[in-house]
């Protein structure tokens, strides 16, 4: 792993099943992640992906590329546009730095409204 290494783009179709199953698998029972009526009553267009899942998908994106044998040291994300069903979450990423055995990988997960998640994943390289 070296600075400048690019991770191939990964496109994940967002379905209601994905949003609901990942919310429940992360034990997040907030209604806006599984109940469209409640989500819309709260001013949202639809149910939307929860933050634990945005973090988990950054983990998956990096380890699908680097392998799960790498040791992940941290995942820092900033949330942007909501990830709604029937959109596509498109991940891109690049190794930006390798210092003292730690690689910093910048990751962006974009939806049609803009960046859903931008962040960094730190792995022991």
């Amino acid at each position: 792993m070296k600075a400048g290494d690019e991770i191939p783009v990964w496109e994940l179709p967002i379905t209601p099943t994905l949003v609901v199953s990942t919310a429940l698998a992360t034990r997040d029972f907030q209604d806006v992640h599984h109940d469209r009526d409640r989500a819309q009553a709260a001013g949202s267009k639809d149910i939307f992906m929860n933050i634990l899942t945005s973090t988990a998908l950054c983990e998956r994106y990096v380890t699908d590329w680097a392998g799960t044998d790498v040791q992940i040291k941290g995942i820092s994300i900033r949330l942007g546009a909501p990830a709604y069903p029937y959109d596509t979450l498109s991940f891109s990423g690049e190794v930006t730095d390798v210092t003292d055995g730690i690689a910093t990988i910048s990751v962006t997960g974009a939806v049609s409204l803009g960046a859903h998640v931008t962040g960094t994943v730190r792995v022991a390289a």
Binding site: L18, S21, A25, F29, A56, K73, G74, S76
Partner: protein
């Protein structure tokens, strides 16, 4: 944090701002509070459900280790879970809600993993209020950024930490 935005008066009544910042100092002084045990030990069925939902496949997570970003999953409140009275994050959010900042939006999550958790471990978590910054004019409306710090332990060993930031805001009125 001691820096006061120049436009504080135009965004929030000075007395309201002072009250919010005083409450923030009081809650920060609680330190690591709201200590809770995870409902379940780190366990394979919960890992399997997560792997299936995320579509992540790895032998590693069938051999005794849990995916690192599941750290927070173990101590989620669950369906109908109640926050303890002295939960610093929710106490601060309640102060802001009562002051009219009833919108909430998660903005940042910064997790660090000291090590991967192992099946059979009992995890516990503490939460502290790290900072309250504002008022700021944002795309959502005027608001305060509330940052909490969660720390996960197995016994006395720290295994993971998270800085979590939310924006508490007064929703803009749209015509």
């Amino acid at each position: 944090m001691s820096e006061k935005p120049r436009d504080v008066h135009s965004l929030v009544d000075e007395a309201v701002h002072e009250k919010i910042m005083a409450a923030a100092e009081e809650i920060k002084a609680w330190g690591e509070a709201a200590e809770r045990d995870a409902r379940d030990l780190v366990n394979q069925p919960t890992i399997n459900n997560w792997l299936e939902a995320m579509g992540l496949e790895s032998e590693r997570f069938h051999q005794g280790e849990a995916p690192p970003s599941m750290a927070q999953v173990w101590t989620m409140y669950g369906q109908g879970g109640k926050h303890p009275d002295r939960d610093p994050l929710h106490a601060m959010m309640n102060v802001l809600t009562d002051a009219g900042f009833d919108g909430v939006l998660g903005t940042n999550s910064e997790q660090s993993y000291d090590r991967y958790l192992r099946v059979g471990e009992q995890v516990r978590v503490t939460t502290a209020l790290d900072s309250v910054v504002g008022p700021k004019s944002t795309g959502m409306g005027a608001g305060y950024f509330v940052t909490s710090r969660s720390t996960w332990y197995v016994g006395d060993e720290r295994v993971a930490t998270m800085l979590f930031r939310v924006l508490k805001f007064i929703p803009k009125v749209t015509a």
